[in-house]
Symmetry: C2
Subunit: 106 residues, 2 copies
Amino acid sequence: MPETTPLWHPEVSEISLDKVLAALSDPYRRRVVLDLAASEGTPLRCAGFPIPLAKATRTHHFRVLREAGLIHQVDHGNGRTNTLRRDDMDRRFPGLLAAIVAAGPE
Amino acid sequence: MPETTPLWHPEVSEISLDKVLAALSDPYRRRVVLDLAASEGTPLRCAGFPIPLAKATRTHHFRVLREAGLIHQVDHGNGRTNTLRRDDMDRRFPGLLAAIVAAGPE
DNA sequence: CGCAAGGTACGATAAATTTCGTACCTTAGG
DNA sequence: CCTAAGGTACGAAATTTATCGTACCTTGCG
């Protein structure tokens, strides 16, 4: 058995601004992005984020972020780890994440 | 009678990133923002934008942009003119509009 | 092994968004 | 004055999104 289960992630070239902005328009999801940005590339577990919602809903939000191309997820069977796709985003939409991070949690 | 009818616009301080990003996540609305950015402050009429939708729907999109704080609208009875709230946005979320404009229509 | 922790998938419900038709309003211009 | 052009407001339908409960799966650990 593989150590990790495959998860779909968009290629850099297919990351759409529509989906990225829609993903970032939610405060919980933006919070995740902010925390990941602060972690400087260190993977963070889903369970570690302060999102006061049901498990199924958390799964939903992380999927939105992943399918938008904002985060990279690795499945470990129990627990998943997340990293921000900083370089990919900077290549695709230069300055966007910087502006979002600078804005803070609001 | 006043020459213009008042329209509600958010104060700079009450512009929310949630609403701004949600507004920008629609391609038609982002197109409007792009065109206004290119007009360099020259007001543009609603009717001038290439949005192939019913009139009522166009009204809806312009309202979303206005209430998010992205554009300033002036009513002239027939016709409205729109300008991008460039300075306000730059003050509130530095770098955000620049990144959006740089990304282009996608 | 057997259980707890972390997470998913499915299905349902609720809420928000998008789109439109219709009726109506306002100004410009003949 | 009368009409056309640009837009709104209201209400409705269709679509999307957010939220959750429940059942289930996987790994770590005692």
